[in-house]
Symmetry: C2
């Protein structure tokens, strides 16, 4: 997984456990893809300060992941939902009963909402 | 939700964020349903000490829930899985095609494993 993608996922799950200041700097990295120099200027801290803070946040987020494994669990749930949708697609191709297919589509909707709720 | 059920769920999700000592005492409460006096004797601490520790753990776990909302998310996922299984049951009653029903059962299996992975 690309580093920025991993950072984004970790932040999605554990971001609330960072301080407000850490959150705002970390968000600038993952959402806006800003350089450390730009973030340093914007927050009136040194480039090294930004570097250290990001490193500290990365470590903290990885420690939470090591204990709670939410990114891991989410990726596994995503894989199960993918399989459910695949089966649903096959079921729809296997029959042409409109009532059955409506029920199958209900299943697809519920399975996708599991990921939305995560 | 009964207090002990809530404590169990919170512990399932955030228990790893407690210290080893807190974990072992908290587990004695939720798993063995032991009284504070029994736990106090077993751990060679006062009954008040146990009481305070449990209260501190409850607070810590609730603070994590407030930020990460995992129990809440899990309960919502459980509800979606319940709906998927309900639809799957209806689909099976709506037809008698063995191939279709096998595929529907696959969906049931995947949906249940989402909760197991949580």
């Amino acid at each position: 997984m690309e580093k920025i993608v991993r950072q984004s996922m970790l932040y999605d799950f554990y971001g609330e456990l960072l301080t407000e200041h850490q959150k705002s700097v970390y968000e600038e990295v993952i959402n806006n893809d800003m350089s450390y120099s730009e973030i340093a200027k914007l927050n009136n801290i040194s480039r090294q300060g930004v570097f250290d803070m990001i490193k500290r946040c990365d470590k903290k987020l990885e420690e939470y992941e090591e204990k709670l494994k939410l990114v891991d669990k989410f990726l596994r749930a995503k894989e199960q939902v993918r399989k459910i949708r695949e089966c649903a697609g096959e079921l729809k191709r296997m029959n042409s009963d409109e009532k059955l297919n409506k029920k199958i589509e209900e299943i697809e909707t519920y399975s996708v909402s599991i990921l939305d709720d995560f």
